[in-house]
């Protein structure tokens, strides 16, 4: 099994007032620089305790993720960790220029010496307000963008693209990547549509088990769809094609982990952290304290909630004009939390269910301090990784992955 760390670049200065976008007036440059430095240092720590790959994601206009261009962090890390496997999970493709995305991934592949990983996602709802992208076109732009990127990374001669959403008369990226035909390419699998698309186009898939994304109850169906569709298209995914992103809190004992979780409000629902909805109003509250469900929402947050829901509708393919009523439900899944032994057991159970050979961990979130995060990373690397490495790998077991369908 391969272990990755998805190190969120959170802002550790005084937080802004609630709501998205985060108001820039609250930014203290020194605090932002320290926050970015901590994030990069945490990756170096993770590397020293045995993590195999290092990833970043793209988010905009938000104190919770200082990462509008994750390529810069990935590139910086290549110089601090030469020879490391580094990737972006992922670029928000519908809001970006696919040819530019292909160019940057190819450059990253050279900076990593052919050890990069491509992740292409559709983004969280607020991203569609970032550059003004039509959310009803999200899936169409995404699917076309993925295929365009594949061609840009592999076509041997200059070519043009006459798409539905993208038109380029000339594409000839230099450099093309080191890895041939291209670096491993992964998309998020959070629906049957995405599972089928991944299977049909020889893509890896990532399942995110976190508050606000996917629960176990749907992952089994999506994985089945992915494998069956792939087989219809002439290939069979193995556990190496499947990544699971999990939120993880490791402490010396289960009791300490439980106490930390309760005190610091971990885990923080992902959608809330990114969109900053539902945070307590600024009146008398420190948003870094555990969320108080009785505190009134900020007026801006209340007004924005139906807008965000409308974007979710668009991204999900629900037709325009459908009243933006009830929020689309998310099912939270079990997280990794406890002593190293407990987390080890949780990983075994989860991996057996999901059949993944890549596990990407998120140690940040909520109000965890930098020291707590470093400790969690250290314990995982020193106590959990070595145990799992000695166990029978689920990696190449095609039969196991197929049998579990």
């Amino acid at each position: 099994m391969k272990f990755g760390i998805f190190m969120v670049a959170r802002y550790y200065g005084d937080p802004p007032s609630p709501g998205w976008p985060s108001r820039p007036v609250f930014l203290k440059p020194d605090a932002a620089t320290q926050s970015v430095g901590f994030m990069l240092d945490a990756n170096v720590l993770a590397h020293s305790v045995g993590f195999d790959f290092f990833t970043f994601a793209e988010h905009h206009y938000n104190f919770a993720q200082l990462s509008p261009n994750p390529m810069l962090y990935a590139s910086a890390l290549t110089q601090r960790l030469p020879g490391a496997h580094i990737g972006i999970l992922g670029i928000d493709l519908p809001i970006n220029n696919p040819v530019r995305v292909a160019e940057e991934y190819a450059m990253l592949d050279h900076l990593t010496g052919g050890r990069s990983l491509i992740g292409l996602l559709r983004g969280t709802p607020n991203e569609y307000m970032t550059y003004g992208t039509n959310p009803w076109e999200s899936r169409g732009r995404f699917e076309e963008g993925v295929l365009l990127i594949k061609k840009a990374l592999t076509e041997p001669e200059p070519f043009g693209w006459e798409g539905k959403y993208y038109r380029y008369r000339t594409i000839a990226i230099w450099p093309q990547p080191v890895q041939k035909p291209h670096p491993p390419m992964l998309i998020s699998c959070s629906s049957e549509n995405s599972a089928a698309f991944a299977g049909a186009n020889r893509l890896d898939v990532g399942f995110e088990i976190a508050a606000g994304f996917s629960g176990y109850d749907r992952i089994r169906d999506w994985r089945k769809c992915y494998i069956e569709t792939a087989q219809e298209h002439g290939w069979t995914p193995t556990a190496n094609n499947i990544l699971c992103r999990q939120h993880c809190l490791v402490a010396d004992t289960d009791e300490e982990a439980a106490e930390l979780s309760a005190r610091e409000g971990w885990p923080e629902p992902i959608q809330d952290s990114i969109i900053a909805h539902g945070l307590p109003s600024a009146a008398g509250g420190d948003p870094y304290k555990k969320r108080d469900s009785t505190a009134p929402r900020g007026r801006q947050a209340e007004a924005m909630a139906p807008v965000v829901n409308l974007i979710r509708y668009g991204m999900s393919g629900i037709p325009k004009g459908t009243p933006a009523g009830r929020p689309i439900p998310h099912t939270a899944g079990p997280l990794l939390s406890g002593s190293p032994e407990t987390v080890l057991r949780q990983i075994r159970e989860q991996t057996e269910f999901i059949g993944n050979n890549r596990l990407e961990l998120v140690f940040t979130g909520a109000h965890l301090s930098q020291a707590q995060i470093r400790r969690s990373i250290q314990l995982f690397g020193e106590k959990v990784i070595p145990s799992l490495r000695h166990e029978v790998s689920l990696a190449a077991s095609t039969a196991q992955a197929a049998a579990a369908v």
């Binding site: 295929l147 061609k151 001669e157 200059p158 070519f159 043009g160 693209w161 798409g163 539905k164 008369r169």
Partner: protein, 272 residues
């Protein structure tokens, strides 16, 4: 307008004509006015398309039925592409055209290319839609009707609805197609000639083409000095039929502006 009425309207502006050329009675249809665009069909025979209708609003379009296809008699005389290209060159000349844009699909594209090599002075600009000159990387044709249809059309339901040639048509055109395609998948002789072709050429391949692999597009780009190779997304072998507006858009832009079509001229100004 329903799909049915759209289907009935397709090609309604085209008027049928005949010419005698090279011992054949050759049928063609004409619509529109302006610069002439001559079109050669693919192995399925002539078929009116929405793309042709759009082209006919901008150009004088002449779409030919090559001898042996459609309603014409079985063609037992033509032995190879050179002969077919010469027959079609004479047929076009018989309409009175001296210079024209030439557009060919699949085997019609291969024919158009050979015609252009033989008569470069006649062809102003060349558009090749999934041409069958080079056929490297092709997978074997499937016997499953659904898979076979997908090789030709991503969207078989769009007008004109996809109907594969029936047994009578296949029996008539099969031997002719075999003779025309009795050459290597990478034809070295043609490849050598292409390096000297100066005609502005646009090569289009559908990303989902299951008949002639889109990877062949790069070959034309590599060999023809003034070629542009464009992939048409979400289209299979019959690009005009899968994505008529996209096909017409890029073809018209190329024919009207030549290589300047590489520059977008549509304004991105939202408001002054």
């Amino acid at each position: 307008m329903t799909d049915q009425s759209v289907a009935e309207e397709i090609g309604s502006a085209f008027v049928e004509h005949f010419v005698d050329a090279d011992g054949f009675r050759v049928r063609y249809w004409e619509a529109g006015s302006g610069d002439p665009v001559v079109m050669f069909h693919g192995g399925g025979g002539p078929k009116f398309t929405i793309a042709q209708d759009i082209l006919a609003r901008k150009f004088r379009v002449l779409t030919f039925e090559m001898p042996g296809w459609g309603a014409s008699e079985a063609n037992t005389r033509t032995q190879n592409l050179d002969e077919l290209a010469e027959t079609m060159a004479q047929a076009v000349a018989a309409t009175g055209l001296g210079q024209y844009h030439l557009l060919g699909h699949s085997i019609g594209g291969a024919t158009a290319l050979v015609l252009t090599l033989a008569h470069p002075d006649r062809v102003r600009q060349l558009v090749l839609e999934a041409p069958a000159t080079f056929r490297t990387g092709n997978v074997a044709h499937s016997d499953d009707p659904a898979a076979r249809a997908r090789a030709f059309r991503v969207h078989p339901e769009r007008p004109p609805v996809f109907t594969p040639p029936g047994p009578e048509q296949r029996a008539k055109t099969g031997p002719l197609m075999q003779r025309l395609q009795d050459r290597p998948a990478y034809d070295e002789v043609v490849a050598a000639r292409l390096e000297k072709l100066e005609t502005l050429t646009l090569v289009l391949f559908g990303t989902e083409d299951g008949v002639v692999s889109p990877e062949n597009g790069a070959i034309y780009k590599k060999l023809i000095p003034n070629a542009t190779f464009i992939l048409v997304y979400d289209a299979a072998h019959l690009i005009q039929q899968d994505r008529p507006e996209a096909f017409a858009d890029v073809t018209i832009d190329f024919l009207e502006r030549g290589l300047a079509f590489l520059i977008p001229e549509v304004s991105s100004l939202i408001n002054p």
